[in-house]
């Protein structure tokens, strides 16, 4: 009896040290303290025996704690070079999305096709590349597991409501979080039927100003057999980007 009490006493700090799933994801989501960011993004999409390359120059800034502005300029392939996409997020109300197609010489306002839509025809969805809203998911820490020789947190995320499930098209996500970097190193995405759909592997990271950035992400679509890789190069933060960059005027330049 005394031994059992002692064991309980010794194990208490260990239990207390294990953060909840929500706490782990809070560390992941809220670690980004950069004000603005630029990067050259290379997207490699492999499907149906063909590989397609897309290159983008990306600019992003935090307008407020919860609102980002993002400008993407496509630089490759040549037939889409010059195309530019501007996203202005609003915490209240609709986000603004504008697309400049040089072939049409016109800026078009475009509707949101849902967070579950494919980003540039890749295996990444708009949700995958955006910042998740913590309130959209119910998290559960499934404990520490070993992944590629490192101890990582395994966190289960279930949609908080039907709307999130419908929008993201995910029935469940399993995140593997490196507690050294507070970054997701692997994620498994399940469809609404509970079948494994996609697996994200983060191949490399880069530390800038104490923040670990994912710089090489590979998404494997288990169901279709396709694969998309997103690589970030020339990553720079806090360059003091002008707010005028994130306007319709700059889409044309």
């Amino acid at each position: 009896m005394r031994i059992k009490a002692l064991w309980l006493l010794l194990s208490l700090p260990l239990v207390a040290a294990m953060p909840s799933g929500r706490e782990v994801m809070e560390r992941v989501v809220n670690k980004a303290t950069w004000k603005d960011m630029t990067a050259d993004v290379l997207m490699r999409i492999s499907a149906r025996g063909r590989e397609r390359i897309r290159k983008i120059k990306m600019f992003s800034r935090k307008r407020t704690a919860e609102e980002n502005d993002t400008l993407m300029r496509f630089t490759y392939p040549p037939d889409v070079a010059g195309t530019a996409f501007l996203l202005i997020e609003h915490s209240k109300g609709e986000d603004e999305r504008y697309l400049y197609l040089p072939a049409l010489r016109r800026i078009r306002r475009i509707a949101s096709s849902g967070k579950g839509g494919a980003f540039m025809g890749s295996d990444f969805s708009y949700y995958d590349i955006g910042k998740p809203k913590l309130g959209d998911w119910k998290y559960r820490n499934l404990g520490m597991v070993e992944l590629n020789g490192r101890k990582v947190y395994k966190v289960e995320a279930l949609p908080a409501n039907k709307k999130v499930e419908k929008e993201t098209k995910y029935g469940k996500i399993i995140h593997y979080v490196d507690p050294q970097k507070w970054s997701v190193v692997r994620a498994e995405y399940y469809d609404r039927m509970g079948k494994l759909w996609k697996v994200l592997e983060v191949r490399s990271f880069k530390e800038i100003k104490g923040i670990w950035f994912q710089t090489d992400l590979v998404m494997n679509n288990i169901q279709s057999g396709s694969q998309s890789e997103m690589k970030f190069e020339n990553l720079k933060v806090d360059q003091g980007l002008s707010p005028s960059l994130f306007t319709k005027r700059s889409l044309r330049r």
């Binding site: 999409i45 392939p77 609709e94 072939a103 016109r106 509707a111 980003f119 540039m120 330049r253």
Partner: protein
């Protein structure tokens, strides 16, 4: 034109800028007997862009080698050639350029600057819109902007309709005939809107009897007061665009001059998924100052149309687009289905058709001889 050439030459002399362009093979076959090739050939387009701090040079030059019977040979055409000056809140662009106003698709009542070539509607806008020599100034302040446009030389639509014995008379090239306008754009609580004014000539031709008992094709003066907006709501974008056309026949008593009229479009665009979008539009034109018996033979007091633009794409693989316009009164219609296959990065194959159908004297029925099927292979570099 000389100014355009000078800009072009200057741009080319500034080698070291970015060279881009495309090589395209095209075959357009008439869908009307005797079904000959209306266009057959290849085109090299060279684009040169050079930025020198606050000044950008851009020129886009087409080398067109045509092989069909009519129009065989090599031609050189500057699609665009302009200089843009950028200041902190002002951009000034001078030279040959495309100037588009409005927000709706394909039918834009406020867009009366850049003419159309209705005989050459294919997959690419630069084939069926004709750039103009213009000066355009954009002034940005807050979340608003003011655009001023000046077009010294009038360029009409190409309709492909021939009226035997009629002679086309274009406005003389003199300062009194310069066309000009302004457009104020702003945003309020997620609603983007513009107000515009354009003073120029009707891009569409009007046939009038002349003093010698013949016919002339004219482009009367008009003023256009326009407004347009867009608003996003979830997976929908609501758009609208309308204009009041103040013509020379303000009282509606001259049967050979268009009466003042209202022309507006209401549109609902739906992004069903990242692959599928549909844009449905309702269009109405209302002729004002209507006097029975004093109206042109083809004028209707109220004419209504609907248009649908449907796009399904597998990004990076293929895209299917259908553009359609249907006029309720005569039942005439325009269809433009285009299938685009991305053969490799930068290599696209376009297969499509431009179809005009309807009764002989209906708006689209009159254009039926311009119906064609087309195949284009394009390599961009």
């Amino acid at each position: 034109m000389r100014g355009t050439g000078a800009i072009l030459l200057l741009s080319i002399l500034l080698l070291g800028g970015d060279f881009t362009g495309y090589m395209k093979f095209y075959a357009h076959q008439s869908l009307v007997s005797p079904y000959g090739f209306t266009k057959l050939g290849s085109r090299l387009q060279l684009n040169l862009k050079k930025s020198l701090g606050k000044i950008d040079f851009f020129s886009s030059l087409d080398f067109d080698m045509r092989a069909e019977e009519q129009g065989r040979g090599l031609s050189l055409y500057p699609v665009e050639a302009y200089i843009t000056f950028h200041w902190s809140s002002v951009d000034l662009r001078i030279g040959r350029q495309f100037v588009f106003w409005g927000r709706t698709d394909w039918i834009n009542p406020t867009d009366n600057i850049t003419p159309w070539d209705y005989t050459n509607i294919t997959a690419e806008i630069e084939d069926y819109r004709l750039s103009v020599d213009a000066a355009k100034l954009d002034w940005y302040f807050g979340n608003s902007s003011l655009e001023l446009v000046l077009v010294p030389f009038f360029k009409p639509n190409i309709t492909g309709m021939e009226i035997p014995g009629a002679k086309e008379v274009l406005p003389e090239q003199k300062p009194e005939n310069w066309q000009e306008g302004l457009r104020f754009s702003s945003e309020f609580s997620g609603l983007n809107f513009s107000l515009s004014y354009w003073k120029g000539f009707d891009l569409y031709p009007t046939v009038v009897p002349d003093m010698q008992g013949g016919l002339t094709v004219q482009h009367p003066r008009q003023q256009v007061f326009g407004a347009d907006f867009d608003y996003a709501l979830g997976s929908f974008v609501i758009k609208g665009e309308g204009a009041y056309f103040l013509t020379q026949d303000r009282e509606g008593t001259d049967p050979f001059v268009k009466n003042p009229y209202l022309h507006y479009v209401l549109a609902l665009e739906w992004a069903a998924s990242s692959n599928l979008t549909a844009d449905l539009q309702f269009v109405e034109k209302r002729v004002l100052r209507w006097h029975q018996g004093l109206m042109g033979p083809y004028e209707e007091r109220i004419s209504r149309s609907a248009s649908l633009v449907f796009t399904y794409k597998r990004e990076g693989y293929w895209k299917l687009q259908l553009i359609s316009v249907y006029n309720f009164k005569d039942g005439d219609y325009f269809l433009l289905p285009i299938f685009t296959y991305e053969f490799a990065d930068g290599v696209n194959i376009y297969l499509g058709a431009t179809l005009f159908r309807g009764p002989e004297e209906s708006p689209f029925g009159r254009l039926k001889d311009s119906s064609r099927a087309f195949l284009e292979v394009k390599y961009s570099f």
